[in-house]
Symmetry: C3
Subunit: 418 residues, 3 copies
């Protein structure tokens, strides 16, 4: 196991280590979200929340394996397009992608229902090392699972279990992969646009997003991400604390938490593109965007128990706009390779507005794509009365549950279908 | 501190980093187990559980240092055997092993009671770098501590403090090292058998088990471990959720958690040897094995508050059998170097059954060794009435505790001896 | 993103990865401290504690960016001194330091109030890669934030919000940087003294302190740190458990936790300088130092709800003394490069007492510097009546808070100023 003395570490291996580490830490956010949401809802709904969070990570990992990852990052050739990968033409390429869909399309391009038999498996040509892409599956899975989980807070105490599971399947198998392929995959129509982009803006662990660490430039970017994320969170939390205090005379823990999150979301579109002082500004305004959005949500009487829209939606949109102003020329060059002479950087540094334009196009595309798809899904759930929990359903619960375990004041950790 | 520009990272150093990282993350499982077990037991026993978990990690680290690590992985020569290392013949070799036992046997081979004096220490020859093996001690310690902790759930609310501490000392100093040396150490009689093996099946963080990451093949294996562990957990959790719902009409958080764990345990015998789709199958059946075992346990009226046997024992046994069927030829070649022509791989891929045979032999050895040793220990504890908490003891508790601190509804975080 | 096959990982990059990893894990301690302190205080003060912990990390990150990091580690030349960095003479050097103060002094050496304009930013010369020091900012920030947090336990339920925030600003901007520069920075007057030193003794994650992992010697030190920290914690916890049991007949979880912490603090002055067996001794006596200090504190009627002084102060002082006895010659040579012939190592190994003398000088300097500064700050807060919460203030709270959210038995997660 021990390497020979004097041999050097492989760069690709160090990157894999970095991705496995990053995915593991991002996955810790599931714990954080479970605790955050549990802290916001009533005691009787905690079991429901915990079950949703366990299930969305589980269902996401399977949907991501069966369809999502292949749609988003499968290796493609002539039949692919700029939005999605529909088949993997090369057998050896497809075998690198840990996605059931790609495995199928590799053999029978037009039939997703083809079941590979054991005999065919044993005759497949040996490819060594055959799994170079597993680390991407794992890292991207931690993202997509986090993205799915965020919504669980926004619909806490409201949505049925069936409705929530439908959302997760639709999100991970279809909606997210198209955005991911468009923005991040080589060949995606928005690839190369300046921005880590909106879905990534929905989580808070930026350093891993550079995907590689083994060269000096990459490592410097990773370190800068850590710094700007920290500073944006700090100024967001402090801003929200004082703003809330000014408005209501209260020092509020919940507002501070959401301010911290909003600050991080606010910088997530490009944590490596801004200076540390800009991250401070970014976080402060991100917190104000959150606060303003919360006021609007209350005025419009839109129900969002944990403020998920205000934190992740409003501050996420703000984030891509912010980058349009504050992306620094040197950093854009370092991250994307654009020469400074192209003037593709933030307006405040003298850029010509391409970054802002690209980001707005990207934003409109994502809002339309996600909006239409979920309008269809939730509309279908609504008309079939699978969307909302009825007022009686939760009351009914305590009478129907059979055995009583756990510490939650006699309540049971088992819950019934919405 | 900063390296010179252009110099490359040492492979051995990157592996040490990987092991320290892995040990740290595995140790996080102590927190998970503490929370899991606390969630299953009655409020009044939480203090007891937390104390047991703190103590088993502490006692394990000392026993592992004084005896266990030396027995399992000490450097040995002519007097060693295939089960255990009884002495370290070379002074320079022994000084690499952070184990008190090895340090002793280095100087006086037949006397464990020899106390190294300060004068002798200062005259020892300088060896630089003298601690290349510390990372193994640390990583393996995180394992053995986790293994010890798992049992704390199975005996929660039942065993006395003295009984539990006796179990930890016996486990870490004697029972586990023999299994570890037999299966994993060079020279162990089961070394090279196909399987990460049962004790490793008792924990859930597989990527670290490859022990190295600095070469492309190792890194690919690490990444595949992360993927298959994720998918097995997901399918285990979902399977258990639906199976429980079908049987009882309840959506049960506790069953889902145990299903997730059973799925991970189910794939742990060889997460790098199976395809991702096989991990899905593995996790689903692992959850059913757990479920079936729970039914049997209830029928037999065997007391296991958190289902530790069903999750870690039953699903662990299932795991090594599963590998006998599903170990893929390419992956066995990648991990163990066996040429495909040897046909040492899973039956479903056309292997000749050696893998299955080896695994069953290993299983029988481990069950016999562990069974006999703990039969002796627990028998001794039983006849001396040190094993079970008497019904009156816990009641007695609240009267005897002196001061009242903490948030647990007036209960005290102090507890009396069983 | 993927590196070319066969290319090797850069050593500097691997070190950056290690620092980002280390900072992330150290920051997890914030969660641990929040839970520890919450477990010690009364239910009604939990919100207050959580808010303080959120705020000290936030305020620390900004103060560390604006002043602290520049004071401690800014690049300096002729105008620097052995205690603090007051300006960064070279433009290109300063741009590497993510500290607002350094950025300012770079342009206008004597004016901290100079606001860099956007126009000047866009004309700054491009420096690539321009952020090699971000990882140090991040890692050191995790330390200073932890140091600040520790005190929150010691003043839990007692100090006002304004008083606590004043403490954090003073600590992170001024008190800590002078200690850090003196002890750790090149050019600091205590630099090269043998000891990781007292402020570092106030946290518990030692492996990261080596700052680099990419060479074999560094990696070996990292691994040894992990082992000695583990063993010292274990023996500290066990010692405290039994000592408390002997004194009071109780098996106490809280004492065990503080014993574990005291053991880790006790070895933190030099975890890489002692043998594993010495770490066992170190932890045991560290726990006794904690226990003795607690008895003295109670006799003197000094109020410290969580025992923060006894764990971090008393055991921290003990730690630097311990190193004076037990620093091993080979390890001192490995870590600091002192030749064994200089006899600069522990007295028990035949050293000539320089280590002990240096550590005592360092200790006296730190105690005087920290003591005088906080005497001034807390004195000012005391005479302006901003220091202590009045008895009525907390009662008043429940009447004034407006809305009721969260699970804490009807209490609100919002709290009022002091």
């Amino acid at each position: 196991v021990q390497s020979e003395v004097g041999s050097k570490a492989d760069a690709a291996s160090t990157n894999i280590f970095f991705l496995v580490y990053g995915g593991t830490i991002v996955f810790l956010m599931q714990l954080g979200f479970a605790m955050l949401t549990s802290g916001f809802v009533r005691m009787k709904n905690i079991n429901n929340i915990l079950l949703k969070n366990l299930m969305d990570a589980s269902v996401a990992s399977i949907c991501w394996y069966v369809l999502g990852y292949g749609f988003a990052y499968g290796v493609s050739d002539h039949r692919s397009n700029a939005f999605i990968v529909l088949e993997s033409p090369h057998a050896d390429a497809a075998s690198h992608v840990p996605c059931l869909f790609s495995t199928f399309t590799q053999h029978h391009p037009y039939s997703i229902a083809y079941i590979t038999t054991f005999s065919s498996m044993s005759s497949a040509p040996p490819v060594l090392p055959s799994s170079h892409i597993h680390e991407y599956y794992f890292f991207q899975w931690a993202f997509v699972a986090t993205t799915a989980t965020i919504v669980s807070g926004g619909v806490a105490e409201r949505i049925t279990f069936v409705g929530y599971m439908s959302y997760v399947v639709w999100m991970v198998s279809w909606v997210y992969p198209v955005v991911a392929h468009s923005v991040w995959a080589t060949g995606g129509w928005l690839h190369g646009f300046v921005s880590y982009a909106v879905p990534e803006a929905w989580y808070a662990f930026n350093p891993g997003s550079q995907l590689a660490v083994a060269t000096p430039a990459n490592a410097a970017i990773v370190a800068r991400n850590a710094v700007t994320t920290t500073l944006a969170a700090a100024s967001g939390g402090i801003t929200c604390l004082f703003f809330k205090f000014w408005r209501s005379g209260q020092l509020c823990v919940l507002s501070t938490c959401n301010g911290l999150l909003s600050g991080m979301v606010g910088v997530t579109a490009g944590p490596s593109l801004v200076e540390p002082w800009a991250a401070l500004i970014c976080g402060a305004f991100g917190a104000l965007v959150f606060y303003g959005s919360e006021i609007v949500m209350h005025k419009l009487k839109i129900d969002d128990p944990v403020g998920a829209w205000s934190v992740h939606g409003a501050a996420g949109i703000y984030s891509v706009i912010f980058i349009g102003f504050f992306a620094k020329h040197d950093y854009v060059k370092e991250v994307y390779g654009n020469p400074v002479s192209s003037r593709r950087y933030g307006w405040f540094y003298g850029g010509h507005g391409q970054v802002m334009l690209c980001n707005i196009i990207e934003l409109i595309f994502i809002i339309l794509w996600v909006g239409i798809n979920f309008y269809l899904l939730f509309g279908l759930l609504y008309v079939t009365k699978k969307l909302r929990v009825s007022a009686g359903a939760t009351k009914h619960l305590s009478e129907l549950t059979g055995h009583q375990t756990g510490n939650y004041g006699g309540s049971c950790l088992c819950t019934l279908v919405g």
